[in-house]
């Protein structure tokens, strides 16, 4: 049994937005069992922006799904704030997601029949709660959605759609926002915008964000990067930059390539990641761009 102190990014229990101990997720049975998560211990600190990185198949999405109560665990315990969510039933998990967690997915984030405002307030409406007007206005203005509120998702660009999704995640002032590759489907400019908003949500609105990504440039916006490989957290990096993250990822690929011998598929995937990661800093310096966008929204 690992001690809490051993968990990467360990924080005192009362400061953790989410915690997992011995979190294990296995797919299949017997000979064909695949361990997506292998006894993971993790603490997500409140008020911080945490990125989860790792090569394809490292279990990063599974980790997010288990922490968010979207997926069941095979073993171990998970807490969201002070509530243990392992062992909760579907109804309680649904309520927990509705009231205490915000979500952003890579694509198809919005209900196509509802307009932007209705999408933003959807979790609140489902819960039958009235939105906090002031907070809602702040979120909408922060994301620059004021003149898009009556638009249907089909009338919005990809970036605008992700901003609406971001606003929805923020609207109920959740304890934790999970973002699963939120920039994966966006061009680099729109992607940077969204990352800036998430950064802002942490810095100015005091939210807690966990983002799964395989893009070092995106990870560079976070306070802490957790690296996953083969279902384990293998490293953590405070105050990351795109370069440092990329360096760390390359080391992974090297280890992995050596370990697997002819892991050509893995190598190819990693090469793809590398190429994309390399493309980002070449376009813009992530550190300054984050500040730039942040500054722009601050004025509102």
């Amino acid at each position: 049994m690992p001690t809490p102190a051993a968990a990467p990014g360990a924080v005192p229990a009362e400061r953790a937005a989410a915690r997992a101990r011995g979190l294990t997720k296995a797919y299949g049975t017997g000979e064909t069992t695949v361990l997506a998560l292998d006894a993971v211990d993790v603490d997500i600190a409140r008020g911080r922006f945490t990125a989860v990185m790792g090569p394809s198949g490292s279990g990063k999405s599974t980790l997010m799904h288990c922490l968010a109560g979207l997926d069941t665990v095979s073993a171990g315990r998970v807490w969201l704030g002070g509530t243990e969510i392992t062992g909760l039933r579907d109804r309680e998990l649904t309520r927990l997601r509705r009231d205490r967690v915000g979500f952003m997915f890579q694509s198809f984030n919005l209900v196509p029949t509802l307009d932007a405002l209705e999408n933003i307030t959807l979790p609140l409406d489902i819960a039958g709660r009235r939105p906090d007007r002031d907070w809602l206005d702040r979120v909408i203005d922060a994301l620059g959605l004021r003149d898009r509120l009556k638009h249907r998702p089909a009338q919005l660009s990809g970036g605008q759609q992700q901003r609406v999704a971001c606003a929805r995640a923020l609207a109920s002032r959740p304890e934790l926002i999970f973002a699963d590759e939120p920039t994966g489907n966006l061009d680099s400019r729109a992607g940077l915008e969204v990352l800036g908003f998430l950064r802002d949500a942490v810095d100015r609105l005091g939210q807690t964000v966990v983002m799964v990504t395989h893009d070092p440039g995106a990870a560079a916006h976070s306070d802490l990067v957790l690296f996953l490989a083969d279902g384990r957290i293998v490293d953590g990096m405070e105050h990351p930059t795109a370069e440092s993250v990329l360096e760390r990822m390359k080391r992974f690929d090297a280890i992995r390539g050596a370990y697997e011998g002819d892991g050509s598929a893995g190598a190819a995937a990693a090469a793809g990641d590398t190429a994309r990661a390399a493309a980002l800093p070449a376009e813009r310096d992530p550190a300054t761009s984050a500040d730039g966008t942040g500054g722009a929204t601050e004025e509102v």
Binding site: D90, R97, D99, N109, V111, L114
Partner: protein, 855 residues
């Protein structure tokens, strides 16, 4: 390409399941009704061919009446002896057979079919052609003995030795059952009672000198046709109906054929509605499958498939569905026919069929319907599939709203609707029943098509209103369900259209039915003055003893008998009209309120006089005092003077034309022995009607076939008769509604598949399973209610126009059955809830993560 088509078909077979079911149902009804009627008519052809004598001599069938008159036509019994001496005749014997005899057991309960099939009393003359064989006991001898058929004996628990009462026209008599006769062939559903020949003649016909027919057997070497020629020559041509076995079988089959045809047409009606509604379901399925496969089709196009290949691929898929559906439907049709034959035997019609007749035309019809329906239904979706551009393979296929605008539909719908409305307006304004009816038919078809075409245009405005309260009542769930229903107006429109067709029929027919009820009620209120009417449930005449018992009941005051007569009258305008006239006792005014345009009851009922409706008289150039040549059943002719013209205004009900009536004495002169069909009774002064009623009921207890009714009971009797008609329509519509519900299930199920990712998203951000189910349920309810509202609106318009047609035939009252309408709306909401059960369950069971990742 064919392989890709087959793969596609098999991959989507789950989604085609309900479409296949719709095809199976339609084909099953087509095939079932054809097989059933072929089998039944073959069976009866064989029966009649086997049981007809070589040559039969029967009374001339001159006039037929829509209302049974109860007159038994006879031939002299000694014809048999005369014919026996004729060359080429091996044997001739008398036949005595009376339909509509009433047989009751010692406890006074009727011994006979409960289905409305006749109880036939006849003479026991076993020949090789008899349909029955004595299986236990012995043949009847003398006045007090009879045989009963085995089916009736078993059904009614009658045994050898039991005493039965036969209520024949000349008078009731008691018989002891001495034996049981069993049908060797098909039992057509009737009960049979056999007496020895002299008893049958005396007791059933009132005279040993009469017979209802003569059966003649040909000597060896004489053909039936030759024998018929000799018999006709001997008896004088034209005096009797002389038929060979083949002709007799044919005419007997034709008599029964009317009944079988009704069953056949009813079943084909089922099939037609099933086909119509099924088309909507299949159109929707294919449209949705193609929408879901846009990227796949785009890829095919990008890889080099041309438009024709894509279209052909979809149509091939449809043809495969049709073939599979038709094959299963044909099998189901055989089963359905077998089930119907079983059902008939439960009703006493014992079809001893060893072989089910499947004519070559049945599979042809089955496959034509099955493949035709799917082909037609898939045609538009196939064209749409062919129009998919290769670019669709690359584009993101998530399209929320409608595709193309509905302008063409708007134009076509408006044009058809205007034509239909014009036809209906013409119908309402028309003064002639025939014109009005044909305009009504055209209007109904045109407005139906117009509503189907324009349905999608009505989706937005109507569902906004119908689901208007959803957001307030159900919050975000309500809002999303309403928007989902609005999402694809074409789909919602087609789904609701299926329900609309059925409910429009319900609404139209129930308006007509309740208007007829009210018209009859008014007529009864206006014209019926008697305290009680004694009559048979189905207006069949009854023995004279019943009238005698009514007369003999203490406290009975005025008693007026009514009889029916089949007549033909030559009118001054040159027309010959065959109709049914009523005959009454002179004190008619005491039991009925009649208004006259000319003359009065006295003149109407005077000897040698007749009365008729003033409108009918005017239309045919008849004036008061006109002398018209009449022809009565049995061939008697008379010249009757028009003594009075009535001004009742509503005379053409039940196929009886002209409102003719005359004095009972006049009728007795030309058609002696006509039995009474109804007796109107007033309580004598000083006797309370309730007391008279209980006395009458006691006095008539031995005659279970007649009932005592006051005005309210009489209204109820009429309502019941109209209700039978409505139930038939409701049964038809029931099937349509079942298929419509399948359509709603189908649409919802396919929508759920289509919206998998959306559902996953909603579940992820906190929509509970229960809320998700409610969302789908509400969508289903709003679609169903939309269909109901459309159908009811259409049906009410039809009903109003139908009522105008009825008004031209004298049924002037209009009644809107609000209760039925409210029931239909509530019922449709229930239908919506039921239809949503499985799709909602399926949606709520989806795994959130797989749903989000769904492509």
């Amino acid at each position: 390409m064919l392989r890709a088509t087959l793969r596609g078909f098999l991959a989507h077979k789950g989604r085609l399941l309900l479409s296949a079911l719709a095809v199976v149902l339609s084909v099953a009804f087509v095939a079932g009704s054809l097989i059933f009627s072929d089998t039944v008519s073959r069976t009866f052809d064989r029966l009649f061919a086997a049981t007809s004598a070589d040559v039969t001599v029967e009374p001339r069938q001159d006039l037929t009446s829509a209302v049974p008159t109860g007159v038994v036509q006879t031939v002299p019994a000694d014809l048999a002896r005369r014919l026996e001496g004729l060359g080429g005749v091996a044997a001739a014997h008398v036949d005595v057979a009376v339909r509509d005899a009433v047989v009751v057991d010692a406890a006074g309960t009727p011994v006979g079919p409960t289905t409305g099939a006749p109880t036939i009393a006849s003479n026991w003359e076993p020949t090789r052609r008899s349909p029955v064989r004595l299986t236990s006991g012995r043949a009847p001898h003398g006045g007090g003995e009879a045989l009963l058929d085995a089916d009736t004996a078993r059904y009614r628990g009658v045994r050898i030795g039991d005493v039965l009462t036969v209520q024949a026209q000349p008078g009731s008599f008691r018989v002891r059952v001495t034996g049981i006769a069993t049908f060797t062939t098909t039992n057509p559903g009737s009960a049979r009672l056999f007496l020895d020949t002299p008893t049958a003649q005396r007791r059933l016909l009132g005279s040993t000198g009469r017979a209802t027919g003569i059966s003649v057997d040909a000597a060896r070497g004489t053909s039936d046709t030759a024998l018929r020629g000799r018999v006709e020559a001997a008896l004088g041509p034209g005096r009797y109906d002389v038929r060979t076995a083949a002709e007799h079988a044919k005419s007997a089959a034709a008599d029964l054929g009317g009944f079988l045809k009704v069953i056949k047409y009813v079943m084909l009606g089922f099939a037609g509605i099933a086909v119509l509604v099924g088309v909507f379901l299949i159109v929707n399925t294919f449209s949705m499958l193609i929408a879901q496969r846009t990227r796949e089709l785009g890829l095919l196009r990008a890889l080099g498939a041309d438009r024709r290949q894509v279209r052909r691929s979809v149509l091939t898929e449809a043809a495969l569905l049709g073939l599979a559906g038709a094959t299963l439907g044909l099998a189901a049709g055989v089963g359905l026919a077998a089930g119907l034959i079983r059902l008939l035997s439960a009703f006493g019609m014992n079809l001893r069929t060893t072989d089910t007749v499947v004519a070559w035309s049945t599979p042809v019809a089955a496959y034509a319907v099955g493949v035709g329906v799917t082909f037609v239904a898939a045609f538009l979706p196939a064209r749409r599939a062919a129009a998919v551009s290769p670019m669709a393979a690359l584009a993101d296929a998530e399209v929320a709203g409608v595709g193309r605008p509905l302008r063409v539909r708007a134009a076509a719908g408006a044009a058809l609707g205007a034509a239909g409305a014009a036809a209906l307006a013409g119908c309402a304004a028309s003064g002639r029943a025939a014109t009005a009816a044909s305009l009504l038919g055209a209007g109904v078809v045109l407005t139906l098509v117009a509503t189907v075409v324009a349905g999608p245009l009505l989706v937005r405005p109507l569902i906004r209103v119908l689901g208007g309260a959803f957001p307030a009542l159900f919050g975000a769930v309500g809002r999303m369900s309403r928007r989902n229903a609005l999402r694809n107006p074409r789909r919602t429109g087609a789904t609701a259209a299926a329900l609309m067709v059925g409910l429009a029929l319900v609404a139209g027919m129930s308006v007509a039915g309740s208007s007829m009820n009210r018209s009859f009620d008014r007529r009864i209120d206006r014209t019926l003055g008697a305290d009680f009417i004694v009559q048979n449930r189905n207006f069949l005449p009854f023995p004279a003893e019943v009238t005698a018992r009514v007369r003999g009941t203490p406290g009975a005051g005025v008693v007026v008998r009514q009889r029916f007569a089949a007549v033909a009258v030559a009118l001054p305008d040159g027309r010959r009209v065959e109709t049914t006239a009523s005959a009454y006792d002179p004190r008619l005014d005491d039991v009925a309120h009649l208004t006259y345009a000319s003359g009065g009851t006295g003149a109407a009922l005077a000897a040698g006089h007749v009365a008729m409706d003033a409108g009918f008289a005017r239309g045919h150039g008849v004036r008061p005092g006109s002398v018209l040549p009449f022809e009565f059943q049995g061939g008697r002719r008379a010249r009757l003077t028009v003594g009075a013209l009535t001004d009742q205004g509503d005379t053409e009900a039940f196929g009886v034309q002209g409102g003719l009536f005359l004095g009972l004495g006049t009728l007795e002169r030309y058609v002696p022995g006509t039995p009474d069909a109804a007796v109107y009774v007033n309580a004598a002064p000083g006797t309370a009607p309730a007391l008279l009623r209980s006395r009458l009921e006691r006095a008539l207890a031995p005659y279970p076939q007649v009932q005592v009714r006051d005005q309210a009971d009489y209204k109820k009797l009429v309502h019941d008769q109209i209700a039978v008609l409505l139930y038939l329509v409701y049964a038809l519509v029931g099937l349509a509604i079942v298929i419509a519900v399948l359509g709603v299930v189908n649409t919802l199920a396919l929508s759920v598949v289509e919206r998998t990712r959306e559902i996953g998203l909603l579940r992820a951000i906190g929509l509970s399973r229960r809320q998700l189910r409610r969302m789908i349920r509400l969508e289903s309810v709003v679609i169903a209610v939309f269909g109901a509202v459309l159908g009811l609106a259409l049906g009410l318009v039809w009903g109003l126009c139908l009522q105008r047609v009825l008004a031209l035939q004298g049924m002037t009252a209009l009644a809107i059955p609000w209760g039925t309408i409210a029931t239909v709306v509530i019922g449709s909401a229930v239908v919506g809830v039921v239809a949503a059960v499985l799709p909602a369950l399926r949606a709520s069971r989806m795994n959130v993560l797989t749903a989000i990742a769904h492509e």
